[in-house]
């Protein structure tokens, strides 16, 4: 028997068989990356996001690392009214896309079952000697299809990261926080300037923000944001407090992290995701202002 004499229908199931193999491997690998295994410093996701790199802040001390959801009371706030107070917001690292798997479970299972149905029918119809032909074709298509699908997934993640990078989160926090603190503390609030020797400063350092794949609920992603508040006042040591808005932990005065199905979240150029990031920025500013207000 010569290969060229075989009808084309004998070769039709081979690409689907290859897709089945790919889908099977993708189904097992989706969600395999755990959040604890993720090292943002080594992740290649960061390169997809344009950012203004800031100096790396000092690592938290052992005491600081103990999570407390209860906001602290700041001391010496009456000093803020007695002179110019700078408000500064900066970012510690680029936006993150954490724990993002490859294909969604729905996509992987759809390809797997479609392939199984067609391939099983084809095998029933074909003679066993053709199995060798299928294996040869399968390996050819497997070698070509896998890089193609990986490239597609990389492109999708890059598109999401690019859309999210359009949200200038530190600037939104800066503007919102200044607006709130002016109404709280009066006209003594100023923007940071290197020319002025500022003794009073409210600084917000955004430690991390972005979206992470929710391993507990299939095909959902959640926003996360973690920030540090630093208050510098004369005759006081720098006071710190933290704001957490994450699926696994959140401050008492923070709302739950926004989670939604990835189909909705990243549709229309990630419109909903960008809205969630903007809202998080406004919420962070309101939390900082409210903590300062309640400490007075």
């Amino acid at each position: 028997m010569v290969l060229k004499d075989l009808p084309l229908s004998y070769f039709a199931p081979i690409p689907l068989f290859a897709l089945f193999l790919i889908a099977s491997s993708c189904t097992t690998s989706t969600g395999a990356r755990k959040q604890s295994d993720y090292d943002p410093a080594q992740s290649s996701n960061a390169e997809f996001v344009s950012s203004r790199p800031e100096e790396v802040i000092a690592p938290l001390t052992e005491d600081d690392a103990v999570f407390s959801p209860v906001p602290r009371r700041f001391l010496g706030l009456e000093e803020l009214r007695s002179g110019p107070t700078a408000v500064r917001v900066r970012m510690a690292r680029a936006a993150d896309l954490e724990n993002f798997g490859r294909f969604t479970q729905t996509e992987a299972m759809t390809v797997a079952f479609a392939s199984m149905i067609v391939v099983s029918g084809a095998f029933g119809a074909a003679a066993l000697p053709l199995l060798g032909v299928y294996a040869a074709w399968g390996s050819i298509f497997f070698g070509g299809a896998v890089p193609g699908m990986l490239a597609f997934e990389k492109h999708r993640q890059a598109s999401i990261a690019e859309a999210i990078a359009k949200v200038d989160l530190p600037q939104i926090v800066q503007t919102a926080l200044q607006r709130r603190l002016v109404s709280l503390l009066g006209e003594s609030i100023t923007a940071p300037s290197s020319d002025l020797d500022i003794e009073r400063e409210v600084e917000v350092v955004i430690l991390s923000y972005g979206f992470l794949w929710n391993a507990n609920v299939p095909d959902t992603a959640c926003s996360f944001l973690q920030a540090e508040i630093r208050l510098t006042i004369p005759n006081h040591e720098t006071q710190k407090d933290w704001v957490y808005m994450e699926p696994s932990r959140r401050s008492d005065d923070a709302p739950p992290a926004y989670c939604s199905y990835s189909e909705r979240l990243f549709a229309d150029d990630s419109a909903l995701a960008r809205q969630a990031l903007s809202d998080n920025a406004e919420i962070l500013a309101s939390i900082v202002a409210r903590r300062l207000e309640s400490s007075q």
Partner: protein
């Protein structure tokens, strides 16, 4: 022709279980009762209704006797799961404060309504929601909503209603008999694909005016062999489109008037 017809049905069954969630009502003019939103904060519609009272769910099942299902159906458990999962989702995922009125839930609130029972109010609201009207409801319903506002101090009321149809043992037996006759199955399967499935609706009414301000519909049909739905996967599907509640740090809380507290 017969293999083509069978392949067409197999293709339809492959697509079976297609589910979708659609927001059918989303009003932009929503007024809360329990707080004043700060000006210039983030945009919210139904999210302004931070405090919600959740009415008992109104569910219908077919077959009504769970023992007649082809696969095991525990309708009581599903009803209890819905009653527990809806407040859990709204509080833990979207940041709302909820007051549960369903007696099946342990920490439920009780209240007195003028002129009708809680079950009657649920039926009236379900009928009113179907109209998809922008107008306030009739006076009887409005008075009940005012009573809920005074007694519970909430911005909105949530109503969950739905229907679930599962293939029964009798239908399965008839289906097998039709299959033995050849073409008989081709007539029965499409009918079952349309009939079997789930449809749930979540409606939110603002208590200030009684208007329907938000509604979401989830439907899943097409799979004649579908298992009974699970509430922990169903409620996220139904409520996912709802926007988060306005955070408390962006509001000025209005305390419940003392005169209403003393009534």
């Amino acid at each position: 022709m017969k293999p083509v017809a069978l392949c067409a049905i197999m293709a339809l069954m492959w697509c079976a279980g297609c589910a979708s969630t659609n927001v059918v009502v989303n009003s932009s003019s929503v007024a809360p009762v329990t707080h004043q939103p700060e000006s210039g904060s983030i945009s919210r519609n139904v999210g302004l209704l931070r405090r919600l009272a959740i009415l008992p769910a109104r569910l219908e099942f077919s077959p009504s006797n769970g023992k007649q299902c082809f696969e095991s159906c525990d309708w009581e458990q599903l009803t209890l799961d819905v009653a527990q999962d809806v407040p859990k989702y709204l509080t833990e995922w979207r940041g709302y404060e909820v007051v549960v009125l369903d007696p099946m839930v342990a920490d439920h609130a009780s209240l007195e309504l003028p002129g009708m029972s809680l079950d009657d109010l649920v039926k009236e609201l379900a009928t009113f929601a179907e109209q998809r009207s922008n107008e306030p409801p009739k006076d009887e319903i409005g008075q009940c909503l005012q009573a809920i506002t005074k007694q519970l101090w909430v911005d909105g009321i949530v109503l969950i209603q739905g229907s679930v149809s599962i293939t029964s043992k009798l239908e399965t037996g008839l289906g097998l008999a039709l299959a033995a006759s050849g073409y008989g199955l081709l007539g029965a399967l499409p009918i079952q694909m349309v009939r079997i499935g789930s449809k749930f609706e979540a409606d939110i009414f603002e208590t200030r005016t009684g208007r329907l301000v938000w509604a979401s519909v989830y439907s899943s049909i097409g799979n004649p062999f579908a298992a009974p739905p699970a509430a922990h996967t169903l409620m996220p599907q139904l409520l996912d489109p709802i926007e988060p509640a306005l955070p408390v740090t962006m509001t000025h809380i209005i305390r419940q008037p003392r005169s209403e507290l003393m009534e």
